[in-house]
């Protein structure tokens, strides 16, 4: 019996008067790979941000790794890759520095990074196929390479819960299966992996659950049902070339 990693009970959330999530009940377990799908603005990113404690629900309760998502000790056990590059761009930053920042919360105050920590950083950079570029400046890499660096930062601390917002956006199609296999490996090692995606097909081999948000509610469906029910949404997305940030 797998233990529960994330538990949402009657969660309601809206931006001002606009309701986004309505009475969401959900359990995610250790060792489970979940793909969170839905149309633009359906609330996928909002759901991740609620699980991270970056947003507070209007109603209901959220428990993550047995505690509150605002608890710093709980947050240190989560790996998060946000949608797109959020790294400040005023000064140059090396790939190693960005990925190393993912280990900082685990080290604790006053503890310096040791040789073992840098080995973990190197392993995470290698896992996303950027071993040759570890000393390079982040802003001199392509968009897809930058996205892989952000993914490596989420992976480096070997977190118990991985929350990934569009983790394969901008990444070369031939490289995506390699990264998906790495995420599946993390799930096999016991991590609870949640990947937001417009295209659950990318995770077909790895993802054992597809959750879709429709009208503020979360439902579990199969790949076939996704294609059948959401084909119109996806066509509409592509037709409108809507690449804006999701909610």
């Amino acid at each position: 019996m797998r233990s529960v990693t994330v538990e949402l009970e009657g969660v309601r959330f809206g931006y001002g008067a606009v309701p986004i999530l309505n009475d969401v009940r959900l359990e995610l377990h250790e060792g489970e790979f979940t793909v969170l799908a839905g149309a633009n603005g359906s609330g996928k990113t909002t759901l991740l941000r609620l699980c991270l404690g970056l947003l507070r629900p209007d109603a209901g309760t959220i428990r993550v790794l047995g505690g509150s998502p605002t608890d710093l000790d709980v947050r240190r056990r989560i790996g998060y890759a946000p949608q797109g590059l959020r790294v400040a761009t005023s000064l140059p930053v090396s790939v190693t520095e960005v990925v190393g920042a993912g280990l900082t919360p685990l080290k604790g105050l006053f503890h310096r990074m040791g040789r073992r920590d840098w080995t973990m950083v190197t392993a995470a950079i290698d896992a996303v196929g950027l071993g040759d570029l570890s000393a390079e400046c982040l802003f001199e890499l392509s968009g897809g390479q930058q996205q892989r660096v952000i993914l490596a930062r989420a992976l480096v601390g070997q977190p118990e819960l991985l929350l990934l917002d569009e983790p394969t956006t901008g990444i070369d199609r031939r490289l995506r299966p390699v990264l998906v296999r790495e995420l599946r490996r993390r799930a096999d090692l016991g991590a609870c992996v949640v990947a937001v995606s417009h295209d659950p097909d990318e995770f077909h081999e790895a993802g054992e659950r597809i959750l879709v948000i429709v009208d503020g509610c979360v439902r579990q469906i199969t790949h076939e049902q996704f294609h059948h029910q959401f084909h119109d949404h996806r066509s509409d997305d592509h037709g409108n070339h809507d690449h804006g940030r999701d909610r």
Binding site: R75, I78, P82, R86, A88, A101, R153
Partner: protein, 274 residues
């Protein structure tokens, strides 16, 4: 030439070097977070602190220290609450500090050469006690940066992800802003409150042109800051009439121009992989 090695010159080199190294080190974190103007706002608040301190019969340093630290924490609180969006609020705080300082000083007839010294620096008149106070403040800034370096870097790179991964971001932000206030007060006698923010920014811009990492930028910026203060002081001493604060900042600007050219040539010689 002999003026370059007299005692007041040596005192100015020591104090200038301390501020020249510490200011860009903290400036790297401010610039990365697009808070370059914070140094200016805190500098103007410190001027109000000097005036209030004088009115209360305190030493200017203590008045500046109290008001700069309290004002800096208040600025951070306003920023967190989203009431400091854009540069309008910062500009209001900046001019308010200057106006309070001018009114408080002029009301007591204190708007004289020593007030100009606070605004534009008076490094050649500092005592060894001043040098000790400036050095202690700068050591405090550099030591705290070294202690919290990895945490400050993580927040400077991506505040939201740092918060989501369990770092005490609000506390670290307060540490950064208090260090900025300490540095501004340390730089008050060296380049003056109107120019101290330049040392937080211009050497950082120079250092970032010749580096490929944040750590490299911090060291290069500190080197540029040290070089600028020493060369600026030497120029001011040798010429005899030039204000040292202005000479230091102009030297930093030249260092930035040189770094920009060197950085561009290096990039052409060693193109990065696509």
């Amino acid at each position: 030439m002999s003026r370059l090695f007299v005692e007041f010159a040596i005192r100015s080199y020591v104090a200038g070097a301390a501020v020249g190294i510490a200011a860009p080190m903290i400036g790297c974190f401010l610039v990365q977070r697009r808070l370059s103007l914070i140094g200016d706002a805190v500098g103007h608040l410190a001027f109000a602190g000097v005036a209030i301190g004088v009115a209360a019969g305190l030493a200017p340093l203590w008045g500046a220290l109290v008001i700069a630290v309290a004002g800096a924490v208040a600025l951070e609180w306003l920023r967190v609450k989203g009431r400091l969006a854009g540069d309008l609020s910062l500009a209001i705080v900046l001019y308010l500090g200057l106006a309070v300082g001018l009114v408080a000083l002029s009301a007591r007839g204190g708007l004289n050469a020593s007030a100009l010294g606070v605004l534009f620096g008076s490094i050649f008149t500092i005592t060894w006690l001043d040098v000790a106070a400036i050095t202690v403040l700068c050591l405090l800034v550099v030591g705290t940066i070294a202690l919290f370096y990895k945490e400050l870097v993580a927040v400077a790179l991506d505040e939201e992800t740092a918060r989501a991964s369990g770092l005490p971001v609000d506390g670290l932000n307060v540490v950064l802003i208090v260090l900025t206030a300490l540095l501004v007060v340390a730089g008050m006698r060296v380049v003056g409150l109107l120019l101290v923010a330049a040392l937080l920014v211009i050497p950082v811009a120079a250092g970032s042109r010749v580096s490929h990492s944040f750590r490299g930028s911090v060291f290069a910026a500190a080197a540029a800051g040290l070089l600028s203060t020493i060369v600026g002081l030497v120029v001011a001493l040798a010429q005899g009439q030039v204000t040292p604060g202005g000479a230091i900042v102009l030297t930093a600007a030249v260092a930035f121009a040189v770094a920009a050219i060197v950085g561009r040539r290096a990039a052409r010689r060693h193109p990065r992989p696509a």
